[in-house]
Amino acid sequence: MRFSGQSFPVMLLAVLVAGVSGCTVENDVTPNAGTGAGSEEATSPSTSSEPTRIQIDGSSTVKVITAAVAEEFESKFSDVKVALKVTGTGTGFKEMIAGRIDIANASRAVKDSEKADCEKNNIELLELLVALDGLTVCVNNENTWVDSITVAQLKKIWEPGSTVKSWKDVDAAWPDVPLVLFGAGEESGTFDYFTEAINGKEDEITENYSPSSDDNVTITGVSGDKGAMGFFGCAYYFANKDKVKALKISPTEDPAAGVAPTPEAVKAGDYKPLSRPLFIYVKKSSLERQEVQDFVRFYLNEGAAQVSKVGYVDVSDEQIKGSREAFEAAVKKE
């Protein structure tokens, strides 16, 4: 016990001194990314961020695309790094309003209230459509009785206070197999969009379904029960085509008019009403920074390949051209 008595604080001191003397270099301590080394003043006018880092936050759906684009981008522009967070579309906009990020990933368009808050803080947004998602309604592979379903039937199943217990309750021609429902939880943008499109009112849904924040759980649930039904983003269906069966969706009363959730149908706008646009919102003042400009331009030019790689649907040539023009106009103005 004698040993720790006196030598311990001395040792601690020695370690501290050694640690500090390691730093007793007369050089400048500069950020690792390096490009700011020469300039004495920060190039970014008002943010405390390192100028070579792009801050992005928002939707988990769009994150998958942005991450893929960022990976490609970083391999080409090695001195720029992308810092990507996933807090959800709503929180992403809040971060944007607080002026903390350069780009917000969003699986829905910005709300008027969010836009107003941005304007209050002198933040101007540039809305860019980058991809499309087709929310897919899936059933078990052993489900032989249904291939196509109408929006009215979906509403009957999913609306709040729904009394449907078995498939027979939806359509008398279908067997008396208990209906088991799975889907995204209320914190997700997928949930918001699905409830709005099917039930007509955002956030309202039947009490008899198992919500999950993880779409893989929904897929496991649907593939494990003969009478199951679930919904999720098309990327999860495209990656698990052998595990579940996707239904055709018909916006009319006639189930025969159903459209399958194929990339082509989503892109052409035929897959209604469950196709949704995916956006990135760029802070216009951030476009003054070269690396943000480079990144967004890269996103619009090379993004399409990444979009389909990660399982979403790229937008039509017409639409991407519109996005590019809007972007270049915004750059010129800044």
Partner: protein, 369 residues
């Protein structure tokens, strides 16, 4: 394995009662010639039966817990086949399941745990010493002690919110203060001229301070327990020999309590390393190819001293965050990536725990009373 001793003994003695004969020795397998007082035989038999059942229940619960662990580990190792390879720990994250690695999370967790330990040990042990050795038993002290136990039960996300409000906001204010300015004066003492210290409000220090809040109640409780287990005679003897209170605490009580304290600290930091919720709350990155300060290998800790100063103020991700993110990817091949991440996390946890065992071993070896 001292717990096995009594159960083993009882099982051995009980072996003699299989046929209900309540005596030991040579006549173990036969009914005794002399009967007990009416009902006594049955009474003893049922008591011994109870003791045997109890021993088996204890054994069962031990092995059941072990079996669950084994199944879990086997399942995770099995799932990790296909991705677990050396380049998994040298690659940073990727959207391709064959390239995705955990390097950034590993370094993030390393820095977080380093600073969490640095903050929580002095404060935690100091509080425990004060509460156990110095403070008089007053109403206030009793209230503090009770509430420490309550704090240990608070969900970590609550600390995340607290950390966001207190630490992240302060960090933002400090960042604003130094925004674009030279920070020469602050560290000029060490002749380090910081031409520009990039500081992020969602940095490692903010994360570590929050994790410190999460584990501090546990560290204090464990240290208190360890201090309480030091015999009072040690203190009395030390004081009687003329040592001051400081000398008694620093040279006798703390070294004697060290095994218990270190176990508590290590177990708490093991908990901190698996926390994701409060870090996401604070703004930890979900997808990044950056390691804090740009330090990507242990060697660079020595060769890039300047970056050492930057790392604590850098943005970060952590292992549990990356694992959580991988498990939610649409591509089923990410299951193997997530499982590999869990394996790496487990290996780190087990190494921390073995360090704890070694520390404990050496610390208790020096105790001779």
């Amino acid at each position: 394995m001292s717990e096995q001793d009594p159960s083993g003994k009882s099982a051995r003695t009980n072996a003699g009662f299989i046929n209900g004969a309540p005596v030991n020795g040579e006549s173990a397998k036969r009914r005794p010639a002399v009967s007990f007082v009416s009902g006594g035989d049955r009474h003893i038999r049922s008591r011994l039966m109870l003791s045997r059942v109890f021993a088996w229940l204890c054994r069962f619960s031990t092995y059941a817990a072990l079996a669950v662990l084994v199944v879990l580990l086997a399942a995770i190792f099995y799932s990790s086949i296909g991705r677990l390879s050396p380049d998994f720990v040298t690659n940073t994250n990727s959207t391709s399941p064959v390239k995705a690695g955990i390097l950034a999370g590993l370094w993030g967790s390393f820095w977080l745990i380093l600073f969490t330990a640095m903050f929580s040990v002095p404060v935690g042990v100091g509080s425990a010493v004060y509460l156990e050795e110095i403070a008089k038993d007053s109403m206030l002290i009793r209230i503090i002690k009770v509430n420490l136990a309550n704090l240990a039960g608070v969900p970590s996300i609550v600390y995340g919110i607290l950390g966001y409000t207190v630490f992240r906001t302060s960090a933002a204010a400090i960042a604003e203060l130094f925004d674009g300015k030279h920070v020469i004066g602050v560290l000029g003492l060490f002749k380090v001229r910081l031409s520009k210290l990039p500081m992020y409000e969602d940095n490692i220090l903010v994360g570590a301070l929050t994790l410190t809040l999460v584990i501090l109640p546990t560290v204090i409780a464990a240290s208190q327990e360890a201090l309480r287990s030091v015999p009072g005679s040690i203190r009395v003897a030390s004081l009687a020999l003329g040592a001051t209170r400081w000398q008694t605490i620093w040279r006798q009580v703390i070294p004697a309590a060290l095994p218990g304290i270190s176990t508590g600290v290590i177990l708490s930091t093991s908990r901190a390393i698996g926390e994701a919720a409060p870090l996401i709350m604070l703004g930890a990155l979900t997808y990044t190819s950056m390691c804090p300060g740009g330090i990507e290998s242990p060697l660079e800790l020595l060769t890039k001293p300047a970056q050492l100063l930057q790392a604590p103020l850098d943005q970060f991700t952590a292992m549990p965050i990356e694992i959580y993110d991988w498990s939610k990817q649409p591509d089923a091949r990410f299951t193997a990536v997530a499982a590999s991440g869990i394996v790496v996390l487990l290996v780190v946890l087990l190494s921390i725990n073995s360090v704890a065992m070694v520390v404990r071993h050496f610390a208790s070896r020096r105790l001779k009373w």
